[in-house]
Symmetry: C2
Subunit: 521 residues, 2 copies
């Protein structure tokens, strides 16, 4: 069977970002003989392993010689062989699930086996980036029905690692808290986890780094402590402190989702079905049994109005129930950023102010974190419904939350020298007197990213006023921080085309539909 | 404004197949400072020009040093600068039409301006491959309505070159003949063009090379003559002979379509709207005023049944009418390949047999070509409806078609040495007695491609029997030709998993719904 041609492997040091790419020279006899075309899919076999890759044709011997088989960094690692080893190459059959992908593109509903086959192929890197984009768009358009979302979620869980906290927790709940994203500065997890852990519940929080936002929880926590921790270290920390705030990327919890995100991010597609499957697969794989979910709603949030928020909530609830995950989805005010800082260092400062009961602490972050912590605490069978908020506030005000946070930071590895905000900056001021009637989450996130966040930890935005505040002409709305001239210039240009704040009359402030007064206390 | 960082340009000799790629070293100060991520879109400016590209991160100084800006072959050519020239790089704003793309993804109907903006961005290579895939899938799913198809076609015409045959033809018609594809061996153009040109009509046929098939008309004509001809040469040839059979790729007739095809091909998506826009934009840009369109229908053709063929015909007619293009769409028998040969050399042999009135010539190819040529000839205002077929047959039988073909071949540049069929091969035989009741176009095309066609001109398939033929066990169904051992082995494996022929009882032969008896005479 296997008498195709072989070529020695060469590692081509190009990061193709989760896509397997094979580089062959245009004069390679295999290219000439078999008529491989650029973007053709090929199967490479070596050392008893095989992978599917996309072909790029090279015209420079320095990158890949005519009788070599070049592999991108991703492909080289995946094949796990040595340079110089002989590899066999042939035209690839389409991945087994491509027929199902085409049925989805044609608008059909997919069943359990189809979705499992697709997710397996994705996790095994058998889809090209074009095929991934097709899947993302097709499932976005013909919206997945709730059983398809359930199947997709189960398939994602099935192909990843799953953390078992049995030894750490026994039969008790493993609690978690997650936000669907889209609100800059929304670092409630870093307040909720220490409160809940101080209450004695197991809260092993794994977070992502920023994908399109100026900071993820992992980026912000990294300002204070190590976050890239091997699973065994993580388990020790959780045994010792009941909590952690770590990066989840080391655990390979949902490899198919990680690959899909590499396409969803540049396309800016985040459909309800994909969101639910992505979040719930990672939470179940991370071992959570109880989850409080934060769904912010607002004109520039991911969810724009209450009916959409309710639909999304019901979809989360349906899938979670069938996965045996206890879910409490909370619709929150997403009209503007939470806290003052946007960017890792500035957000970490806000969090520590709240935990320290600093009178300067941003009250919106404090209130929201207490509300969510209260909901998590009410997963405790010994806590009466409605008592959670009060318990959370007591833990915070007593200093026990701060002590717990310090214990977690020390356990993960405290950063030796504190980071500070970027040394460059400029103020953005109000052009006229008026009331703040709009704060654009997207625009502020983009400005903060252009200023350098999250890679430049001290870059970002510091908000001086919020929705409904009255301002005078020339008063500072926010300050942009940066570390490098070029970044400052990028941010300045973006501000020039729109600063993200709208001023108007006091009666034009949009209502907060999400937070009922009863919720806050 | 333009005080972003600059770096010297380096050409990275990788063929990224119509996608602009920028390579930056992971230690490049711009990457570090601005937090560019792999797959981020960047704008590169040099020499008064600019382009949008996708970023790949490199870890090897030999490909691109930390203080260099690497450009893929496509990007380097597009920017048209020299190596070493300083280029400015910054984060790219999304292409102007991305908002419209997202509205299409969300299922909205797009208007004239939206589609023009999208096509302009595509033609200017401002879309990443992921965005192209999103457009292709979105327009495939929410099927474009006929005005959207019209707008898309017009936009594609607007951004390409347009050939004017005024000087060659005066006020007379410029005729053309095109097939929507999907039927191996369907080389009627190479019979139709000489017949029609011999009748005195101007028929400057430009064709594509094979995209997913084992041979395009340009590939097959290239067996006999030069096909890559500059526009001025083409015009001389058409002035002298009234016809040509050239490759259309040199003329840049529909650059947006060429780019979209680079994504449609690996996705195997060919939706009606995209097909109509692709074909009609190229025909109008090539200067055709009258077009006969071949729509084959059959169980393994692109169009599976008569209702679908009728819908597609109406869509072609609607758009053509609004473009001022006279269209005669003919639904034909697409149940099996046309002629005997599949692959450039074998198809060229079939064509020359028909033109030479060789008694061995495949009669199905002869009949179909005469039928289509007759329809083209009826565009002649001096020809009575129904007389076209007879006129075409007279031209063929008199030898005038062959003489015209030889004149065209000589004008384009006759190939010095004739090519022959691949020297390697094997026979595929009937496993039992029976009647041929199914011939799978897809499977035979794949086998022919694996055998090396179209790159290996002599590779392909030679059919010995066709639909409704009775065969005995062990009788040869077809012969596979190849030039290289590896190709032969690929083809053999594909045959082993299904040879493309189904045998059964005489009454199981599928009916030909497309060809009415009146049509054939």
């Amino acid at each position: 069977m296997n008498n195709g041609p072989t070529l020695p492997i060469r590692r081509v040091a190009i990061d193709t970002w989760r896509e397997n790419v094979v580089f062959l020279h245009r004069d390679c006899p295999v290219v000439r003989a078999s008529g491989f075309q650029a973007l053709a899919k090929v199967r490479v076999q070596a050392n008893g392993k095989s992978l599917i890759a996309v072909l790029n044709v090279v015209d420079d011997d320095c990158i890949c010689a005519p009788r070599e088989l070049g592999l991108s960094e991703d492909a080289f690692e995946r094949l796990g062989t040595e340079e110089g080893e002989q590899a066999r190459i042939e035209q690839a059959e389409p991945a087994p699930s491509i027929a199902a992908l085409h049925r989805k593109i044609a608008g059909e509903r997919l069943g359990h086996e189809d979705l499992h086959a697709i997710v397996q192929d994705i996790a095994a890197a058998r889809y090209s980036r074009i095929e991934l984009a097709a899947f993302v768009v097709a499932t976005n358009q013909f919206e997945l029905d709730r059983d398809e979302v359930l199947n997709l979620t189960e398939a994602m869980i099935a192909c990843g690692q799953r953390i078992d906290w049995q030894r750490e927790v026994g039969a008790g709940p493993v609690v978690d808290k997650h936000c669907i994203g889209g609100i800059p500065g929304n670092r409630t997890s870093m307040v909720v986890v220490p409160i809940v852990a101080a209450h004695g519940m197991l809260c092993p929080k794994t977070s992502s780094r920023a994908i399109t936002s100026p900071a993820g929880t992992a980026d912000t926590m990294e300002v204070l402590a190590e976050v890239e921790l091997p699973l065994e270290r993580l388990k020790e920390i959780v045994r010792a402190t009941h909590g952690c705030l770590a990066w989840g990327g080391t655990a390979d919890l949902s490899p198919a989702d990680d690959i899909l995100i590499s396409v969803e991010r540049p396309l800016a597609i985040d459909s309800p079905g994909q969101m639910v499957a992505s979040i719930l697969s990672k939470k179940v794989s991370a071992g959570a049994t109880h989850l409080v979910l934060d769904i912010p709603v607002g004109p520039t949030a991911k969810v724009r109005n209450m009916p959409a928020a309710q639909r999304l909530k019901r979809l989360f609830e349906y899938v979670a129930a069938r996965l045996g995950l206890e879910l409490d989805a909370v619709i929150t005010d997403g009209r503007q950023p939470i806290g003052r800082g946007i960017g890792p260092v500035l957000e970490a400062r806000d969090v520590m102010q709240v935990l320290s009961n600093d009178p300067e602490a941003p009250q919106d972050l404090r209130q929201k974190a207490l509300r969510l912590a209260g909901r998590v605490i009410e997963f405790d069978p010994d806590v009466r419904g409605g008592d959670g908020y009060r318990i959370a506030r007591n833990i915070l005000e007593s200093g026990r939350a701060l002590a717990k946070m310090n214990a977690i930071i020390d356990a993960q590895g405290r950063r030796a020298e504190p980071l500070s905000a970027g040394k460059l900056g400029f103020d953005v001021t109000a052009p006229a007197d008026g009331t703040v009637i709009g704060v654009d989450n997207h625009r502020l996130a983009r400005i903060a990213r252009l200023s350098g966040a999250p890679q430049v930890r001290g870059a970002g935005i510091d908000l001086m006023v919020k929705l409904a505040d009255e301002v005078r002409a020339g008063q500072t709305l926010y300050r942009v921080h940066a570390q490098f001239d070029a970044d400052l210039e990028f941010a300045r240009r973006m501000v020039a085309s729109g600063c993200g704040f709208t001023l108007g009359a006091a009666d034009q402030v949009p209502r907060d539909y999400a937070t009922s007064p009863a919720d806050a206390k």
